[in-house]
């Protein structure tokens, strides 16, 4: 008898929900292709990082409770972001360190929570994707995914299987792009300097496409590249892996300009 397909709850993330639903649909497609049943709980909003990183522990805990209640019955929770994934996986249990019952629930959820691309490779054992993308892409390792969740080889492995795509490694790919959520609001000039350095590194690769796994970093880098007049197409890696780049224009490019 074949195993039951795993039941996956998609944690959409607030930025994908607001800015780029295409990433959510790409995630659903990839998960279904990998043999998962995907559901999207309606009571999700955000993982709580804006409050957590602002020192507002009470609101963070309230939001975390909401996420835990919405997702704890799934076999897995998958997030198209290393940042929000890291929040649930590492920081939710820390938040409830003094509340044994909640800690247990947070821990239970944390152990089932994965960033999208690492879930496909490490859990679903995907070796390749059925996608085509003609271009030279470079990949930025978003900080939380890289350092909190160890997302490094998995995206490169799947990108290598995309027909027509050549990967040109980004020097300093592990250096922060300067987004940092509320940091870009509180210290916009420093943030701008950091993303300026990043844009120069990206341009130096000669790649025509920039990929990453986190919407926040992508918005930041796309915004800087377009302001500098650099002709680099910016996309979430899920769009390329799901072969959905024909359905939506790159980040920061209007429908009229496609």
């Amino acid at each position: 008898m074949p195993e039951m397909p795993p039941r996956v709850g998609l944690f959409v993330t607030c930025l994908v929900d607001l800015y780029r639903p295409a990433v959510g649909f790409a995630a659903v497609k990839l998960l279904e292709q990998a043999g998962c049943r995907v559901e999207v709980p309606l009571t999700q909003t955000c993982c709580g990082q804006p409050a957590y990183n602002s020192g507002d522990k009470a609101d963070t805990k309230a939001i975390a409770r909401q996420v835990i209640a919405a997702f704890e019955t799934f076999d897995y929770v998958v997030v198209p972001s290393g940042s929000c994934g890291g929040m649930i996986r590492l920081h939710y249990p820390e938040l409830f360190a003094d509340e044994p019952a909640m800690f247990q629930r947070a821990q239970h959820l944390a152990q089932r929570t994965w960033e999208l691309v690492s879930f496909l490779v490490d859990v679903m054992k995907c070796e390749q994707v059925a996608a085509r993308y003609d271009g030279v892409a470079t990949y930025h390792d978003a900080c939380s995914g890289l350092r909190e969740l160890g997302v490094k080889e998995q995206p490169r492995k799947l990108l290598q299987s995309v027909a027509g795509l050549r990967l040109s490694e980004l020097p300093g790919a592990e250096v922060c792009c300067g987004f940092g959520g509320t940091f870009s609001v509180k210290y916009p000039q420093i943030s701008d300097k950091m993303v300026g350095d990043k844009a120069a590194d990206i341009a130096a690769t000669g790649a025509d496409t920039l990929l990453a796994g986190d919407m926040g970093c992508l918005l930041n880098m796309a915004g800087k590249l377009s302001r500098l007049g650099k002709e680099v197409r910016v996309r979430h890696i899920a769009e390329v892996l799901a072969d959905m780049t024909g359905e939506v224009s790159p980040i920061g490019v209007g429908e009229a300009l496609r």
């Binding site: 959409v12 607030c14 994908v16 929900d17 607001l18 800015y19 780029r20 639903p21 990433v23 959510g24 649909f25 999207v40 999700q44 909003t45 955000c46 409050a51 957590y52 990183n53 602002s54 020192g55 522990k57 609101d59 309230a62 939001i63 909401q66 900080c143 939380s144 350092r147 909190e148 250096v175 922060c176 300067g178 987004f179 940092g180 940091f183 870009s184 609001v185 210290y187 916009p188 000039q189 420093i190 701008d192 300097k193 950091m194 993303v195 350095d197 918005l219 796309a222 915004g223 800087k224 377009s226 302001r227 224009s249 980040i251 920061g252 490019v253 209007g254 429908e255 009229a256 300009l257």
Partner: protein, 476 residues
Amino acid sequence: MQPTSHAFKANAEGALGNAHLQQALKLMRAGFPGRRAAAIARLPEFDDLRDEAKAIKDHVLANLDFYLEAFEKNVIAQGGQVHWCRTPQEACETVLAICRRLDAKTVTKGKTMIAEEIALNDYLEANGVTPIETDLGEYIIQIRKEYPSHIIAPAIHLVKEQVADSFRATHRELDPKRRLDEAPTLVAEARGVLRQKFLSADVGVTGANFCVAETGSTIIVTNEGNGDLTQTLTKAHIVLASLEKLVPTLEDASTILRVLARSATGQEFSAYTTVSTGPRRAEDSDGPGEFHVVFLDNGRSAMLGTEFQDMLRCIRCGACMNHCPVYASVGGHAYGWVYPGPMGAVLTPSLVGVDEAGHLPNASTFCGRCESVCPMRIPLPKMMRHWREREFEKKLSPATYRAGLGVWAFLAKNPPLYRLAANAAARVLATFGGARGRFRSLPLAAGWTQGRDMPAPQGRTFMSLWAARRKETGAS
């Protein structure tokens, strides 16, 4: 020194517009991280050594009373003295009293961050004792009347042309037409000038990388050998230390030494590692006449048992700032006090107060690179977040920011309301920015759009599109 950490934003703005500084920081970015990575790649057991090093310091912090007493007992047994000082004022007075008793006119100084912390140079000068910095970087900033911008490379904010200008302005006895365009010529000139001062100095002041409890020794590491000259030729050697420096044994010190230089400069070992144990003995060929350890607390003991205790494991290697993209953008002076970068963002609020230094733990993207390179595995982002929690509790962040966060949190806790608001926001933003796909300016994000565009949303939220799709396909 008087902190200017409260003015971090203005300091940073100035730093971003300072072309010399940006040139110097670019060199730093290209140097330290690669050298560290190469050194660590050559030592497979590096991560195990980090665990050992961390365990040593955790053990000391858990048994601090025992090791402090043992250290003092052994310093005395070797003929030295330990002076316990609670405040910078007490530490300065202690140093001055020794200088006065020995009728010292000049004091040579090896590199010591504690001296910066207690503003020793200003204090000595005000009391008629001339301090002479002997570390090249420290000497440069002393003649420029600046303070260190980095804990191991105090003059890293300068380019060599600036140093040449300062040398010409200061060393007026030398030929004004001499060439000073290469780093080795600058080093040679500083060495010539300083050598005379070593010989004439009365008292030598150094820091300590380690205070070894079992032997009562202090250890410093340098790359210039200036520490040795500072302490062996004088009437008294005064060591400035704090409780972060304490280790049980020489063996423990050597374990930590194995991670220190690799993390700091990518060297396997610093060029000079100098162990000082007591004053000169009758059979010694050289050495100081007296040996004093001035042990400064300045708020550190209050960190014990709090969420900031782990910070006391810090060995001052500078790896966190060498790898920090914020430090690499604004340099050390923007942080406004002695300790910059991620370690400063945690330590400075502890030592000068979070009211003064509240910006520092906020000026981080939490990218986590500092923690990933810290040889002592100090959870720096986590502790910065603890400071943010304290600031939030004390309502120290700007009112508009708090209000915005409050509205957002209210919505985030009410999913149906959040859906409505997100839908409205996506539609409005897409209507105004959709054709271009981005905004060149946005009223509520003026800081963001000053230097970069804000991409526009696609137009509808994922959740509304998902619901519509479920309806179409008849799924529940």
